[in-house]
C-alpha cells in the first residue's frame, strides 16, 4: 500500500509549477543517483548537476535557474530543498499511533491525557501531567509530575521530562533526551560542595525538535527557555538558565554553559561550545569545534579551529604555539635592530 501522486497533484498541494508531463506518477523521493522511474529527485547543490543527465528519476525538482537543465518532467520551485522536504513528507507520512493508553503504561493521579493522545507501553505519566491532543508518548518515556505537553507532540521511546516543565505544540523529542534535570550548581563550603537547589523549569516553545541523548537542564532560580522553532541535534548539553532564541539550529555534541543567551536564527556547528553568562546576537553562525569565550554582538560567521595536518607536521608546528610570545618579541627586536641599522647605513 504505497501512496503515489501525479506531479499535477503535488503542485496543487504544495505550489510550484510543472514543466513536461504533469501526469507522471511518483511514489517516492530519492537522490539523483539512486532514483527510479516512479521516483522524484531534486537538485539543490550544483555539484551534483552532472548527475542530472544520467538520472533514472521519473521527475525532478529544480530551481527557476535550472528550469531548462533537463528534459525530464520537473517541478520548478523557488526553494527546491524546502520543496523536496515537503514532497518527502507527502510521500512518507509518519506512522500514527492509535489513540489510547497501553495497559502497561502507568498513569499518575490527576493526569490529563487528551482522548486523541497515545501513551505507549511502559510509559509513565506523573501525577497532574497534561498530554495534549494527538500527542504520542513513546515506550518507556517518563513524564514528571505536572509536566505540560502541547498537542501533536511526538516523543520517541525513553524520553525523560522532569516535573513542572512545559513543552509546546508539535514537539519532536528523540530517545534518550533528558529535559529538566538539575543544573550543575554547587557552592564550596569548608571543603565540601553544597548543592544549590534547581528550582526553575525548562520551558519549550512550539515546533521544537530535540535530538537523541540530548540534555536540557532546568533553571537554578529562573527557567531555562527554548523558543519556538529551535532545532537541536543529538548529544547536546544545554545548561541551566540558557535561553535559545527562535529558529536557532544547533548541531550534535554542542555544549552551552549556564545563563548564556543565544539569539534567533543562529546556526551552531557540531561539537562547538559556548561559555556561560554570554550573549550571542541573532543570525550568528559558529563553526564546528569552536569555543566561544566572549559575547558576540554582531551577526556573522565565527570560527576557531586548530587546522589538522599529518601528525608529524602537527608536532613540528604546534610546539611553536607555546612560544608565540617569544617569536613575536624576536620579530619586534629584529624590526628595531634593522631600523637602527638602516639609520646607521
Amino acid at each position: 500500500m504505497t501512496v503515489s501522486y501525479r506531479l499535477s497533484e503535488i503542485v496543487a498541494q504544495l505550489g510550484g509549477r510543472v514543466l513536461g508531463d504533469a501526469s507522471v506518477r511518483i511514489a517516492q523521493i530519492a537522490t539523483l543517483e539512486n532514483a527510479q522511474l516512479d521516483q522524484i529527485s531534486f537538485l539543490t547543490n550544483s555539484k551534483y548537476r552532472a548527475q542530472l543527465a544520467s538520472t533514472q528519476a521519473g521527475a525532478v525538482i529544480l530551481s527557476e535557474a535550472e528550469a531548462d537543465a533537463t528534459g525530464l518532467p520537473r517541478i520548478i520551485s523557488d526553494n527546491p530543498y524546502a520543496y523536496f522536504a515537503k514532497v518527502s513528507a507527502l510521500l512518507n507520512p509518519l506512522p500514527a499511533a492509535s489513540p489510547g493508553i497501553h495497559p502497561s503504561a502507568v498513569i499518575g493521579a490527576g493526569a490529563k491525557i487528551e482522548a486523541t493522545a497515545s501513551i505507549a507501553a511502559t510509559a509513565v505519566i506523573g501525577a497532574g501531567a497534561t498530554i495534549g491532543a494527538f500527542s504520542m508518548v513513546g515506550e518507556g518515556c517518563c513524564i514528571g509530575e505536572n509536566v505540560v505537553i502541547g498537542s501533536h507532540a511526538r516523543l520517541y521511546p525513553r524520553v525523560v521530562i522532569y516535573r513542572d516543565c512545559v513543552l509546546g505544540d508539535n514537539l519532536v523529542a528523540h530517545s534518550g533526551g533528558v529535559i529538566g534535570a538539575d543544573g550543575f550548581g554547587f557552592a564550596m563550603d569548608e571543603g565540601h560542595w553544597i548543592k544549590v537547589p534547581q528550582i526553575g523549569r525548562v520551558v519549550i516553545g512550539n515546533d521544537v525538535e530535540i535530538g537523541a541523548n540530548t540534555s536540557i537542564d532546568r533553571g537554578a532560580l529562573n527557567d531555562t527557555v527554548i523558543e519556538d522553532g529551535v532545532k537541536l541535534d543529538n548529544q547536546i548539553q544545554i545548561a541551566h538558565n540558557v535561553h535559545i532564541g527562535a529558529h536557532t539550529a544547533i548541531a550534535g555534541c554542542v555544549g552551552i554553559a549556564g545563563s548564556t543567551t543565544i539569539g534567533r536564527y543562529c546556526r551552531i556547528g557540531g561539537s562547538a561550545g559556548i561559555l556561560g553568562h554570554l550573549h550571542i546576537a541573532d543570525h550568528v553562525e559558529i563553526a564546528a569545534f569552536t569555543l566561544i569565550g566572549k559575547s558576540i554582538r554582531e551577526a556573522g560567521s565565527y570560527a576557531g579551529i586548530f587546522p589538522f595536518s599529518k601528525a608529524e607536521d602537527w608536532r613540528k608546528h604546534s610546539v611553536h604555539i607555546r612560544h608565540l610570545d617569544e617569536l613575536a618579541e624576536r620579530i619586534k627586536t629584529l624590526e628595531k635592530q634593522l631600523k637602527s641599522l638602516s639609520a646607521e647605513s
Copy 2:
C-alpha cells in the same frame, strides 16, 4: 502549602546573623532582579551590586564586607553563596517518594530493599542487589545484579547500573546515566578486534552527583573509582580504570580516557578532555575545551583553547599554523643574517 521562615528562624538553623528586622517572613529565594517582598535574595557577585538598590526583595544575604550596603533586612554570612544554597534547600525541600515498591517494578531474587526505600514504577532491581535506607529508585531505572546502593540515594528515572557496582550514600544520579558499562578494550588479532572482558567494577563514594546522560565505565581488571563528594555534570564520559579524587567537579561533555588518575578538588571545564594513563595533581583547574595530553604534577590553572574570531579572520590567521615551523626558521635566519650584517657594518 508553602513553607516560610522568619529571618530569625533561618539564622537559628543555618548560622549567620541578622541586621534589620529579624521577624520578616520569607517563602522563597530569588535573584535581586526578580525577588518579591516575601522572598530573600543574595549578592555573591559584585557585578550585581547596583541591583541591590532597586531590588524588591524582603531580605538579602550579604557578606561581612557588604553588611552596610543596604538598609534591607539582611543575613550576614562568611560565605553568602553557600548560605544561599542552604536557604534554598530549606525553602525547597525535595519531594519525598513514599516508601515501598510500585507494583509494576520488577524485583530480582534475593534483592535487599530497605523498608524506607522507594522503588518507582517500571524500575527493575536485579537479583542480590541492595538498596539502602530512604533511597529512591526512579521510574525505569535498571539496577544490575548484586549492585549495592547506600542510603539516601536519589536515582532519577532511567538510570542504569550494571552488575556488581557499589555506590555510596547520598548519591544523586540523573536520568540517562549509565554506570558500569564495559570499558572500551579490544586487542587486534589477525585483522579482527577481540574483546577484552571488563571484569572490574565501578566503585563510587558518598555524596556524589552524576549528571544526565553521563557514562562511567567499569574497570578492565581493577575498578573504576569515584571518590567522595565528586560532582559530575551531564554528558560526561569516564573510561575504564579512571580514578577521580574527592570533591573534584567536572563540567558537561568532558571525556576522560582510560586509567587516568585525577586528584582531589580539581575543577574541569566543559568539553575538556584528558588522555589516558595520566596523573593530574590535586587542585588543578582545567579550562573548558582544553585537551590535557600529559600529566600535570603541580596545582594551578591550565588551558589550551584556539581563540575564536570572525570566520574570515580565522581563515587568514589559521593557515599560518601549518607553517609555524617555517616562520620560526625564517626568524632564526633573519637573526643570523642581521647579526652578521651588524658585525660587518
Copy 3:
C-alpha cells in the same frame, strides 16, 4: 564456583606454548602488580617490565622476545595482548540469560523471537521485529517495528532501536544507545525550518560493539551503514548517511557529521570530529580532539590539537593566534628590508 584451568589446558584451547610448570592452575587474570598465586598476568607494555620481577602471579603471558625474562611458569604467544583477552574471556564467561520472554515484556504482533533468545523485564519488542537465536534483549530496551537483530546479540538495558533498522550477529549494544533516530535535516522556508523526513535506515554488520549513550542516526534517503567489526565507544554521535568501514574503532565523544565515509581499520581518538560529506581513507588514525575538515586520501596519522599550558602562558601566547597573518607579513617585510640592506652594504 570458580572456573580454573591448568596452563596446559589453556594452551590446548588457545594455542601458544608453556615454559615452566604447565600444571599450574589459574582462576583469574590480573595486572602484574595485583596478581596473586592462582592468577595469571601478562606483559604487553615494556614500561611494566620491572614489575615482572616482583609479581606474585602464578604465571604470566609473554611475547617470544620476553620468553626468558622470568622464571615463572609462562605462556609464550605471538600476540600477548590478544592472548590475555582470550584467557580473560575463558576465565570470565559472560552470564547467560535464560531463554524466554519475561512476563512484563511487551511483544508486538508478528514479532519473531527465536526460542533461544531472552527478552528481559519491561523490554518492548515492536510488531514484526525479529530477534535472532541466543540473543539477549535487556531490561527496558525498545525495539522498533520490523527491526531485525541477528543471533548472539547482547543488548544491555535501555537500548532503543527505531523501526526498520537491521543489525547483524554478535552485536553488543550498551545502555542508552539510540540507533535509528532521525538525522538532523531541515530546510529553511520563509523563516521556518521544515523537517526533511528521514526515510533511510541504520544497517549494522556483524561483530559490532556500540558504547553507552551513543547515537547513530537513520539515513535521510539512503541508509546509514556500519560495517562488520566496527567498535564504537560511549557518547558518540554518528549522523545520517555516515558509512563506517569494517574494523574501524572510534573512541568516546566523537562526532561524525552527515554523509561522511570512513574507511576500514581506522582509529579515531576521543572527542575528535569529522565534518560532513568527507571521505577518509582506510588505515587512517586521527588524534583525540582533532577536527577533520577535509577528506583524507592517504593512510597515516593526523592531528590538530592546541597544546595546553599554564593558563597565564596560554593567555600570553594565544593572543598572537589572532595576529599570525600580521606576524607573517612582518617577517616578509623584514626579509625584504634585510635583502635590500645586504645588497646596499
